[in-house]
Symmetry: C2
Subunit: 314 residues, 2 copies
């Protein structure tokens, strides 16, 4: 973007927070209903939650679960694209992608308000923890632009910014949100709104001790990405208990100063909508000009696994 | 560090938050008194505030102010080193450094509890805003280790980790704290405690509108660095009004989960002390293993100024 957004360049942004069931049609219906409700409230960009078409199936390493995957584009993106076109709203639309035999991704399409799919972002950072066995299911991915992508931009090594008619969207997924590098690169690509479809929750045996600290840490990271980069951030997280995970909701939308514009409840299905003045990005970045002073000559260490160790050791 | 810290490897860490005057001796005295009080409370590591020996002089571009600078080592580091040795406590000790004629830095020494100076870190990210004219005064710097540095480690391009007897310290200064890159690199160097001497405050004309958001953003960034890297973070900020800036205090110490262990008031001089269990670093990083999943193959964009722009443009 070479010209500044004028003051008052507001766009309503939404996050759909929902409980999931083992009925795919019902999950899709809830997402489409969320899109309709968001559009009715004036939203021009909607972020759906990670893997919304199914339960969070990564709680067991069962090869039968690969049958849940679908191609890109596929039935889920088709259904959402139709809803996007019908309601004139852009959608960040996650799905479980079967890219080739034995090659699966945790993906999200970015669909413009005319229903055209701009591209797909395939989750780059893949977690693997008790009850979150994602390294079994998902190959680490990268962003790919489709012909409709227009003025979207991809980094040389996997991240992407997709320019919808209302805003430049930076799609990232769940575990990505713990990595300042991801938020930074997507922001440098020109994203105005970082969107994080998410599935995060509590495990019963540690909730008492760590639950509130975990939820708070999760929120702080989103807000820090907004502040460090001067962008809006949206996270859509599911609710409800599925097997051993109590998904904690708390979807949020925050502004470039890290101020929370909307925050979901811990357990209710709901559609969050917030008015985002995109000209605040310019103002915030000029007031506290962090991007001006980055020491790009001094960050090579970021591409290292570790820099410490005892002197003389490799 | 190649072996894990055993559970219960606690060390008390302190931040000295103080008002400053135009009397250098009095400012030094207050810092030394803060060191003594911290040590009396059991602290083994103390973080002093940025440029504590003077008022925050960067509010006007007056060349006469360069006379405030001193060599490294110099009278301020000598006085603090003597106090460190006397009280057996390591100190992160900022000063205005005259490195050569016309070459000045915003620096901090890292002094071990035996009074030996391990090295100096010279602020890498230099701000320049109304009433914070630091680009006039300070050349961007880098870390340098002295012979006493022992198992300290420097990055190839400016950051440093200094291993005191109690903890591996990552010194950074004020504006550095808005850059996740700096916190990441210092953590990858092996730092266990990031220390941010700071001088940040409110300008009267914007305090009503932005004051609370600014202070909160500042705190969020520190906590996010702790979370993203699984390290302790200490920030020491001054209090009191000097010319057009009301320094907001709120010094803080937080744990690797971003939980605030101690927080200073907005306007009082005080010494914060918190017990930090360094084994929590290992536990936190194993519970949520962010360092495991960094995509070091995909972060080259971090060393770019900008990655966006219209397709086809350079």
């Amino acid at each position: 973007m070479t010209t500044a957004r004028p003051a008052g360049s507001t766009v309503k942004v939404a996050a759909v927070q929902s409980a999931a069931t083992d009925d795919r049609d019902q999950n899709i219906h809830r997402a489409l209903d969320g899109i309709a409700r968001a559009a009715e409230a004036g939203a021009k960009l909607v972020c759906l939650q990670e893997l919304f078409a199914s339960l969070y199936f990564c709680q067991s390493e069962d090869p039968a679960l690969f049958a849940l995957a679908e191609p890109f584009p596929g039935p889920t993106t088709d259904a959402v694209a139709a809803a996007a076109r019908r309601h004139r709203v852009a959608v960040v639309s996650p799905f479980f992608e079967r890219r080739a035999p034995g090659l699966f991704h945790n993906s999200t399409a970015v669909i413009d308000e005319d229903g055209r799919i701009l591209g797909v972002y395939r989750k780059m950072h893949i977690p693997e923890d008790p009850s979150f066995y994602e390294k079994y299911f998902f190959t680490p991915g990268e962003a790919t632009a489709l012909p409709a992508a227009g003025e979207s931009v991809l980094s040389q090594d996997g991240f992407g910014m997709f320019r919808t008619r209302s805003a430049a969207v930076g799609p990232l997924i769940c575990w990505d949100q713990w990595y300042p590098e991801a938020a930074r690169i997507v922001s440098l690509l020109g994203a105005e709104v970082l969107c994080y479809p998410t599935a995060i929750g509590w495990l019963a045996h540690e909730k008492d001790e760590l639950g509130e600290a975990q939820r708070e840490a999760w929120e702080i990271m989103h807000r820090a990405h907004a502040i460090a980069n001067g962008v809006f951030v949206v996270a859509a997280n599911r609710v409800g208990t599925e097997s051993s995970i109590e998904f904690w909701g708390n979807s949020l939308i925050c502004d470039p100063f890290g101020r929370v514009l909307a925050r979901g409840s811990t357990s209710e299905s709901e559609v969050l909508v917030a008015e985002c003045d995109l000209s605040l990005i310019e103002r915030t970045r000029c007031d506290w000009p962090f991007l001006r002073d980055r020491r790009i000559d001094a960050y090579r260490g970021i591409t290292s696994r570790f820099l410490g160790g005892r002197p003389g050791s490799p």
